[in-house]
């Protein structure tokens, strides 16, 4: 049996009249993008559902959940970053919700957008720009550049390396976890299908025994770790690192 672990499916290709360096000359609308849009629709739909018909008194359960979410986002962001970072709250909330829903949507049997390094790279580069912006804001462009020569000039290349290691590390950590879940899930499905065929092939005709009975139910237990725990954990870690990096950058 062949187990083929590949990138996202390409649904549509738009050829650009010009070549863009690195990105190439054609835009491929792939699984990652489409499922990301679905995730965004789910998140936004959930927000609208939770916040319609808000009341000042005698609130519904929906409203209680909406208020709890907002307070949670406030507490998480302000608690990790400090009171002056109030305008980062929607960003952190969007990042967290995108990450967690992208991770968990694999439970529906589709490919997670986060199983594509482009997604994490996009988030990490945004975070990296924010970190750099905060550093420059705190110390000025001179102070920012001078920071690379600290504590001695000799360490400058390593400082530059460590600076870029931050977004790369964040992106790869998240991607690696989700991808490993995807890979292991694929392996488990394939292994269980093979085991199922072998087991039921002993006493059933091939037409029936080729149905992978063992694939029903058993992978769900493993998805508790690989999808649920890992998915929630990675979303949390990514946002935690984002808040910590940005706030420590602002301290100079």
């Amino acid at each position: 049996m062949d187990i083929n672990i590949v990138g996202p499916k390409v649904f549509w290709t738009i050829d650009l009249p010009f070549e863009v360096p690195i990105l190439g000359g054609k835009i491929e609308i792939n699984e990652t993008m489409v499922i990301s849009w679905a995730v965004m629709l789910i998140i936004t739909g959930l927000c609208i559902f939770l916040t319609h018909n808000l009341k000042v008194e005698k609130i519904s359960k929906r409203q209680a959940v909406a208020e709890w979410l907002v307070e949670l986002a406030d507490k998480f962001t302000l608690g990790n970053m400090g009171e002056k970072f109030g305008n980062f709250i929607p960003f952190i909330a969007a990042l967290f919700s995108l990450s967690i829903f992208s991770n968990l949507i694999s439970l529906l049997g589709v490919r997670s957008p986060t199983a594509d390094l482009n997604t994490e790279a996009a988030w990490a580069i945004v975070v990296f720009i924010m970190i750099t912006h905060q550093k420059i804001k705190a110390g000025g462009i001179g102070g920012y550049l001078k920071g690379y020569t600290q504590p001695i000039v000799f360490l400058t290349p390593f400082n530059i390396l460590s600076e870029f290691a931050t977004p790369i590390g964040m992106a790869c950590r998240h991607f690696g976890n989700i991808l490993s879940g995807l890979v292991i899930n694929s392996l488990i499905y394939a292994a269980l299908a093979a085991a199922s065929a072998a087991l039921f092939g002993l006493f059933l005709p091939e037409a029936i025994s080729s149905i992978p009975f063992l694939d029903v139910g058993i992978p769900a237990f493993l998805s508790v770790y690989f999808d649920w725990f890992s998915g929630v954990m990675q979303a949390f870690i990514f946002c935690m690192l984002t808040t910590k990096y940005i706030s420590s950058a602002a301290e100079g």
Binding site: G7, M40, C47, V56, V70, P90, T119, I125
Partner: protein, 171 residues
């Protein structure tokens, strides 16, 4: 411009392509969406609730203040009323005692004047009675004397006798 729909080809497992740009855009779009559809309405309602709570607290404080004012006013009024009642009572008592004293005094005076008058009247009556008696006794004495000693006493003696008798009576 576009190729075949639903190609079954896959991208490389790790490749860098336009998805990167799309995901950056998606992130910012999601920030805006979550801001507009979750944070803005919830913050608005929280602010409204905060305002309402503040207003309620303020109202309660005002009501309490008002109640305290009313209470102190009431107490003040009660105190005044009490004082006034005491005053009225004191005045009434004073008036009553004054009046009774005056009445007693008047009564005493009146009694004294009545007594005086009575005494005067008695004295006058007595004098009157004495005078009447004097006249009557005089004429009676004269008559009796005339009858008793008609012939033996002269006119001269007669008068002398009367005078003597009167002065005796007087004494």
């Amino acid at each position: 411009m576009s190729n075949v729909l639903f190609l079954t080809e896959n991208q490389e497992l790790v490749s860098f392509n336009w998805t990167f740009v799309a995901q950056i855009c998606n992130l910012f779009i999601q920030v805006l969406l979550i801001k507009k559809f979750l944070f803005k309405p919830v913050r608005e309602i929280l602010a409204k609730r905060q305002a309402k709570a503040d207003a309620d607290i303020k109202e309660a404080a005002e009501a309490k203040e008002e109640a305290a004012a009313i209470k102190s006013e009431y107490e003040q009024n009660m105190l005044e009323a009490k004082e006034r009642a005491n005053e009225i009572l004191a005045t009434a008592q004073k008036n009553a005692s004054e009046k009774s004293e005056q009445m007693i005094k008047e009564a005493t005076v009146q009694a004294a004047s009545i007594r005086q008058k009575a005494e005067n009247d008695i004295a006058q009556e007595r004098r009157k009675a004495v005078n009447e008696l004097k006249g009557e006794i005089g004429s009676m004495a004269m008559e009796i004397a005339g009858k008793v000693i008609e012939r033996e006493i002269s006119e001269k003696d007669h008068e002398k006798l009367i005078d003597e008798f009167i002065s005796n009576v007087k004494a």
